[in-house]
Amino acid sequence: MSSHDATVTIYALIALVGLVLEAMSRTGRTEMPRLGTVLTRIMHTRSGRIGVMAGWMWLGLHYFAR
């Protein structure tokens, strides 16, 4: 396996873990919160809300803007 393939595989594994966590949260049989619930909790505070929106804006800038 090349370095490229290994790198992409690890990204895919991280995404897979995220999907598993989200799936676990939706079964209702664990205490795992949904990602949306975590975001809502973070965004309940002033700086959390503004920080999350700043992160979102940064994503747009990073991929599309100067």
């Binding site: 690890i10 505070t45 700043a54 800038l61 803007a65």
Partner: protein, 207 residues
């Protein structure tokens, strides 16, 4: 103790009824909002990486949080989904038109900054009137999600540092940006990802 509501808080000693250990800890550690620290560090490193616009915006937002500024945005249409079809149409048109702009061009930059700043202003406005207490997130769940994003960030950073230099992409050690480059090189790809970005912003604003 970190108070995420008010940015930087004074570092005064604890109340008389608190334990000695707690009082000592409070009197010696600065009480700094982690969001401000993250935004400031991100702004500094983005600036060092040659992205002055990003740095200006990130540090500017951090300074606004430090100052406790309350941006009085004139209440307009509430982002509660009353006009979903109109919003969808605007998002599609935006994505198609802006997706036609060259990446990293000034038109694309302005086009992204406008909804970005609008989302931020809505965040400032919404922060003035917090909604009902959200569901409690258990410690294990919070640690699990936080760990996932920390690992993602560290893996991204590892690949960034394995590049020949910060501005030169590596096929052997691609960052997420490098992996997305072929998609973002196409008008269609840019439009789809712009739409996803807008939808994510809309989703966040409504929370």
């Amino acid at each position: 103790m970190i108070d995420c509501n008010n940015g930087v808080v004074n570092t005064g000693a604890g109340r008389p009824d608190e334990t000695g250990d707690e009082t000592t800890r409070r009197s010696t550690l600065p009480n700094v909002d982690p969001v401000i620290v993250v935004l400031t560090l991100a702004g500094i490193f983005d600036g060092l990486a040659g992205n002055p616009v990003h740095a200006f915006l990130l540090i500017g937002i951090a300074l606004l949080l430090v100052s406790g500024a309350d941006l009085h945005v004139r209440p307009t249409t509430r982002m509660n989904g009353h006009h979903p079809l109109a919003a969808l149409a605007v998002a599609v048109v935006f994505a198609v038109v802006v997706g036609g702009f060259e990446r990293y061009s000034w038109p694309a930059t302005v086009a992204v900054i406008v909804p970005g700043v609008a989302g931020l202003l809505m965040a400032f406005r919404a922060a003035r009137t917090p909604g009902p207490e959200p569901l409690v997130v258990g410690r294990h769940g919070a640690v699990a999600w936080a760990s996932l994003f920390v690992v993602l960030g560290l893996w991204e950073l590892t690949n960034l540092l394995l590049q020949p230099d910060l501005a030169t992409a590596s096929y052997a050690h691609p960052t997420l940006s490098t992996l997305l480059d072929p998609i973002l090189a196409m008008h269609t790809g840019r439009s789809v990802l712009l739409f996803v970005w807008l939808a994510l912003g809309w989703h966040l604003v409504k929370r």
